[in-house]
């Protein structure tokens, strides 16, 4: 007989979302970004993304000793996000080590998905930047060749060092850069899907992008503000990395503070630091502060009376 009445403890209203469905939504949202990367940087981009995803999923399957390779999908997302932050064609072993570090040290050592303090993909990237900087942030930025799937590539400086790319190129993505960061258009299309599905809140990307624009505006006028938003990894970081549910605050006010903090650290590194880009470390730093922000911005309980300090 079919059970019509279920006796259980709360919560009684359940969302149809589970971890796997959310992760699949994120993969769908990243699809236009990945497509744009292959369109601009050719088969090399495809290889980098495949290595990162396969190694990430394999690492997770080995650590959890599970036969299900795809699992809850979070390893695939981590691998793809890691690939998005890498230059188009780093050596294969750099990509593989990045994925292993992201899953093993960034996530599973803390106790698996949900317990990690820092965004796993960014942990992987940070380790790669510190260890093999020449392969990740040196003379590695390929000049994009649209439709040139197997074209020979030449390297050129990143727009964050030269500051001479046009805003239109930055928006479409026909500039050099990491796989997933060049095309603002593709990132926005992906993010619209996540907004539509209700997986991300406007406050984190809003605070992040808003502060980057504002500080860019102060540093060099309106077009410089836009340039700082479109160039580099701000959009990728603000829309896909900082909004990671596990490593960002849950309270509405906390989310806004978190986003603003990411933006301030990013711009501080860009304007005054020795590195050209600061999104990775900005988000990682704020990840560490997320539990504190949550504690400080707890909403008032219904009926709670303000304590009177004696």
């Amino acid at each position: 007989m079919e059970r019509k009445l279920v006796v259980s403890s709360s919560p009684h209203l359940k969302s149809p979302d589970d971890i796997q469905s959310i992760m699949v939504d994120v993969l769908v949202a990243l699809f236009p970004v990945a497509l744009m990367a292959v369109f601009l940087f050719g088969y090399r981009a495809l290889i980098t993304m495949i290595i990162a995803m396969v190694v990430a999923m394999a690492t997770e399957a080995i650590i959890l000793r599970k036969g299900n390779f795809f699992g809850d999908g979070s390893a695939a997302v981590t691998g793809l996000l890691l690939a998005m932050t890498l230059p188009p064609a780093p050596p294969w072993w750099v990509v593989a080590i990045g994925s292993i570090v992201a899953i093993a040290i960034g996530k599973q050592i803390y106790g698996g998905l949900g317990n990690n303090i820092f965004n796993p993909a960014l942990v992987g990237r940070a380790v790669l930047v510190v260890s093999w900087g020449t392969h990740i942030a040196g003379n590695v930025w390929l000049k994009p060749v649209p439709f040139g799937f197997t074209a020979d590539m030449v390297t050129q400086a990143s727009p964050l060092t030269t500051f001479n790319a046009s805003l239109g190129d930055l928006f479409l993505g026909t500039v050099s850069g990491s796989l997933g960061e060049t095309s603002a258009l593709a990132l926005i299309i992906g993010a619209v899907w996540l907004f539509y599905r209700g997986h991300i809140d406007w406050r984190i990307p809003g605070g992040f992008i808003g502060v980057v624009f504002l500080l860019g505006l102060i540093s060099g006028g309106f077009s410089m503000g836009l340039y700082h938003v479109l160039a580099g990894g701000v959009l990728l970081g603000a829309l896909f990395m900082a909004t990671d549910m596990v490593t960002s605050p849950v309270t509405p006010a906390g989310k806004l503070i978190f986003g603003v903090g990411c933006g301030v650290v990013t711009m501080a590194i860009r304007l005054f630091g020795s590195l050209p880009e600061g999104v990775t470390f900005g988000i990682l730093l704020m990840n560490g502060l997320a539990p504190l922000i949550d504690n400080l911005t707890l909403p008032k309980k219904f009926g709670e009376v303000k304590k009177i300090n004696a």
Binding site: I109, V127, V130, S131
Partner: protein, 200 residues
């Protein structure tokens, strides 16, 4: 009262100062950058620990308990000064690499800890055994960490290249974050092995 053998082996395994008691973390993190640094630091600490344990055990009935900590520091500082000068004279490179961490042995928690917890309550022979076990345990731990970090961070062991020319070292292991990551993974591994082998 435990036997002499137990007294010696506790420092190596059950109460290993680095992996079990988490004492002396400052030199552990700072000098485990290469195998030779780890070994040099370990042996220096072993020497100071041995000498200070002997002297403190010998004087244990003469030191008034209210001023015992200053007295211990004075005794330890004497031997640290000897180590500092000997290293400077015979191995200037190592002395330079270890730098401030040689004088800092004076306030090393392992040495003060053994003085306070063991040497002042036990006779000279037992204090020597205790110092040897703890000192060798500390030396082994530092050398193991140094080997791991040097192997992957620089591609060599005790300065000899072993990874070939195609190997590109993982720079992060030669930096401070690498020290924390390596130590953390080793602590987890040691705990796992203790649980697996049921050593208690």
């Amino acid at each position: 009262m435990s036997t002499i053998a137990q007294e010696f082996s506790k420092g190596l395994l059950k109460e290993n100062p680095t992996f079990r008691l988490l004492l002396g973390m400052c030199p552990t993190l700072a000098v485990s950058i290469s195998a030779i640094n780890g070994l040099g630091m370990g042996v220096s600490a072993l020497f100071v620990l041995l000498c200070s344990n002997i002297v403190i055990a010998a004087l244990r009935n003469l030191i008034p308990s209210k001023v015992r900590i200053p007295a211990y520091i004075l005794i330890i500082a004497t031997f640290v000064t000897i180590v500092d000068m000997v290293l400077n004279a015979f191995t200037p490179d190592l002395h330079k690499a270890l730098g401030i961490f040689i004088p800092l042995i004076v306030v090393n928690c392992i040495i003060l800890g053994r003085a306070e917890a063991f040497a002042r309550k036990n006779n000279i022979v037992r204090s020597i055994i205790d110092a040897l076990g703890m000192g060798i345990g500390f030396t082994l731990a530092l050398t193991i960490l140094g080997i791991i970090r040097e192997l992957f961070g620089k591609g060599s062991i005790f300065g000899f290249g072993v990874m070939g020319t195609a190997f590109e070292p993982m720079g992060i292991l030669a930096t401070a974050p690498g020290a924390f990551i390596t130590l953390g993974i080793m602590l987890g591994f040691v705990n796992f092995m203790f649980k697996r082998l049921r050593i208690e």
